[in-house]
Point group: C2
Chain length 318, copies 2
């Protein structure tokens, strides 16, 4: 692996850009016992960053700190080069502007030791376009977290056209090692996966407000006390797998397929070709694995009871 | 209220249609101590219903049964009229076919005492079109639950053009009394609120599978370990309220508004007019209420820690 530090031997991480997302990464890395070197050009960046880390620390402490983890292991540097010079991994979390990302990633690449992988928190750009000006594009990888990065496990990892496969593999291994839930994507899709899904929901919500069909409070309540409770442990695909009864997703698509044409959202449905039908069924059954529909129903109920209780939402308890 | 039974004095509920949704209502009503009279024309309906109720009972028991609640209080009748004759409330959960719903609701209306409210579990039709053949349309109300109705609190309530306001008010009061989270809608919107949002996400997911951009397993993982964790307690609007930093939703829309035009979903975004911007900001601030952004961040972190722990998803614990 071209002289890379083994993921389990990482000791120092650089965080470039220390706003809400970058600061969240800082807190997470500190909680895992790393030394963190942060750089952010904003004049009040250090004060904001330390406030954010302090606010995150109680939750991280409750979840369990690594031995020796301390907020004292954070160093905020005045120069970018000082932040990345000793890093075993670099996480870039600059504002979401393509020109800025391009220039910054080229600067980071120029200042970072050649064996070190550089991840970007971008929420939607592909690394191919972001790495355009970087000489070391082979070690530039998208590593997109969700807010707050110190508590939400998901990181979407995907390389650009010039990214080396081993850089993607190293990033995946490193992030898994520190407890992240990593999805490695085969291809660059603008917005990746979760943001595409989240954006579809957000846009439908905005349409509903624009048309006076629902208020923001009703939109939130409809998710919080409705499907959102299930999405914390079964995603949309497994949820619809259970909607099909004993026949699962296959029955769902074969039986309710036509209702794909119902005007229940402004987003046009794709044509339910036999190929799409089969892909959805096979993929869903693969993720269900050994679990039968009855198993999944029991799992759903057990977890719903747990989530309802822990959130103080026991029906009838009002 | 035209001789209606006060919501807190309801003792007997009729459930017409006893599949996955109707059966879920049966279990919920039984757990709340009611006598339930169920009717379903399918030949094996009673056996399936009793199996479903038995499967739901452990979860309902764990959440707390009403005094005297028992699965023995379920009676499955051979005739529709026998099920509704003594009911204080009727819940219709027939298959989602408009002609069938129209005819069935007219039959239920003809057989049910005049003072009793009749709710429909339809997941998308408006009561105006479903009540077309019913003489007593004034007491027909949509009461749309989410699966499983015995655990998910949400019920969307909306009347049709001929529905009396007091029937909607009675339904709201009754369902709240038995622990449901009720959203009363002012107008008939096909698919109501949660299904519209859920469908937008589902359709985007199908597009992604159709285009080889993500597998069903990746789609589920992206929600389960990502935004889905937050949607169990903060909906999409409050989530974006926090994405705006201290400036909240106003900052989010003013600052990131242009990214509404990013191609992150196939659903076209609405134009962010000043009116829409103001509605979203005002509505979100209203639902945030007294809670500042800092309060909401603390609330988010506390609940995320709770949800991560109860679901066994503590980062780093792998």
């Amino acid at each position: 692996m071209t002289g890379r530090v083994p993921p389990e031997r990482v000791r120092t991480v650089a965080c470039i850009g220390a706003g809400v997302i970058g600061g969240g990464w800082v807190a997470y890395f500190l909680a895992h016992g790393f030394r963190v070197h942060a750089w952010d050009p904003a004049p009040d960046a250090e004060a904001r960053l330390r406030t954010l880390v302090d606010a995150a620390w109680p939750a991280l402490t409750e979840l369990g700190l690594a031995p020796g983890a301390s907020v004292d292991h954070l160093t905020v540097t005045a120069e970018l080069a000082d932040a990345v010079g000793e890093a075993d991994y670099v996480q870039e979390s600059a504002p979401e502007q393509l020109d800025l990302k391009r220039e910054l990633l080229a600067d980071i690449d120029a200042a970072t030791p050649a064996h070190v992988v550089i991840g970007s928190s971008t929420s939607g750009y592909g690394m191919t376009e972001m790495a355009a000006d970087a000489a070391g594009a082979h070690r530039l990888v998208v590593a997109h977290p969700f807010n707050p990065p110190y508590l939400i496990p998901l990181v979407e990892v995907v390389g650009g056209e010039r990214t080396a496969a081993d850089a993607v593999a190293w990033t995946e291994e490193f992030l898994r090692h520190i407890g992240k839930s990593v999805i490695v994507m085969d291809q660059e899709v603008p917005g990746f996966i979760a943001n595409r899904l989240q954006e579809a929901l957000w846009r439908e919500a905005l349409h509903m407000v624009a048309n006076g069909e629902a208020t923001p409070a009703q939109i939130d309540a409809s998710i919080i006390d409705g499907p959102g409770l299930r999405w914390a442990f079964h995603g949309p695909m497994l949820t619809f797998h259970l909607a099909g009864g004993p026949g699962g997703m296959a029955h769902m698509l074969d039986h309710f397929g036509p209702s794909l044409l119902s005007p229940w959202t402004r987003l046009d449905a794709p044509e339910l070709t036999p190929e799409l039908r089969d892909s959805v069924v096979a993929g869903t059954e693969e993720s269900a694995g050994e679990r039968t529909i009855a198993d999944l129903v029991r799992e759903r109920d057990r977890r719903l009871v747990d989530v309802l209780r822990v959130l103080g939402k026991v029906p009838g308890a009002s």
